[in-house]
Amino acid sequence: MSDNKPVIKMDAQAPDGFEGEGFFATQLSSVIGMARKFSLWPLPFATSCCGIEFMATLNPTFDASRFGMEKNSFSPRQADMLMVCGTISKKLGPILKQVYTQMAEPKWVIAVGACASSGGIFDSYSVLQGIDKIIPVDVYVPGCPPRPEQIIEGVMQVQALCESESIRRRDMPEYQQLLASYDIN
């Protein structure tokens, strides 16, 4: 018998703030960042072997639901974390871009595996050499295909991003410029 009694941790770190009897004051951005961090909603865009690894990430062994990402959205509606798992051909590129533009702000993008990050082994006429040619990417997960642990590490990187970044990042001129460079908006 394995000794796997469930341990419930109630000591997740609270954001910095002022505490007193019956009150706790902190920045709105910290609270919103924490809320976003634990309620990411992934949109799996799975086209090949990395997609299978992503499915393994959702299974009970690796259990991506622990991160608050209980349900996957197969529509851009309400989803805020686009996970591109697999080879994107040039013909599929405009569709991926449309899915990205249909997602509401705030949104993050993970490129899972060599193909989504750089075209992988396919230096050919038909394969897009990395999705960052058409949409901005926040986190690249290396591997061909990556193990579920690596995908989880990528999700945790996104969590660190949305916890720490300004809730107004999307209004910054740099971000507007970035999107404009991709001809989005």
Binding site: K91, A114, I121, D123, S124, S126, C144
Partner: protein
């Protein structure tokens, strides 16, 4: 139906059309004069040979064979006796064009579009000869053997990482 029987039947009917023949892996393969190809396929379909199923059309590029750089290969099948035959036509690369088989076999439509897409071979009489698998604005024919396999100027990919 045996290879010899079919070969004899075709050469009797079209004595000048068969340029050469071979049977690699016991698969009767004929090279046909380009102008006569449609006649031959029509005959195979409607004669008592009953070779009436078009399995495949595909292109091929031999850049080192002068005046015969581009080819189109037809696989045909007799469903009743399970007899298969392969027909080849070759042509020079400039303005390569063969007759479309779409009025004999409706299934030729997509296969000819694919051959056009990848090799640039035009099919005379095809109703809608457009790119089918690649992006509409690709502007070249990627299976022609005149492009490098990879972009040699790329520095961002380490071959070691991709097992090559």
């Amino acid at each position: 139906m045996t290879n010899n029987f079919v070969l004899e039947a075709i050469t009797r009917e079209f004595p000048d059309s068969v340029l050469s023949h071979a049977t690699p892996y016991d698969f009767l393969t004929l090279e046909i004069k380009k102008a006569d190809l449609k006649k031959v396929i029509h005959h195979l379909r409607d004669s008592s040979l009953q070779i009436n199923f078009l399995t495949d059309i595909c292109g091929i590029h031999y850049p080192d064979t002068p005046e015969k750089e581009l080819g189109v290969i037809y696989h045909l099948h007799n469903m009743r006796t399970n007899f298969r035959i392969r027909l080849k036509v070759f042509m020079p690369k400039d303005n390569a064009e063969v007759d479309s088989m779409t009025d004999l076999y409706a299934g030729a439509n997509w296969m000819e579009r694919e051959t056009f897409d990848f090799y640039g071979i035009k099919f005379k009489g095809h109703p809608d000869l457009r790119v089918i698998l690649n992006m509409e604005d690709i502007g070249y024919h990627p299976m022609l053997k005149e492009y490098r396999l990879e972009d040699g100027t790329r520095m961002d990919k380490d071959d070691k990482m991709f097992g090559r």
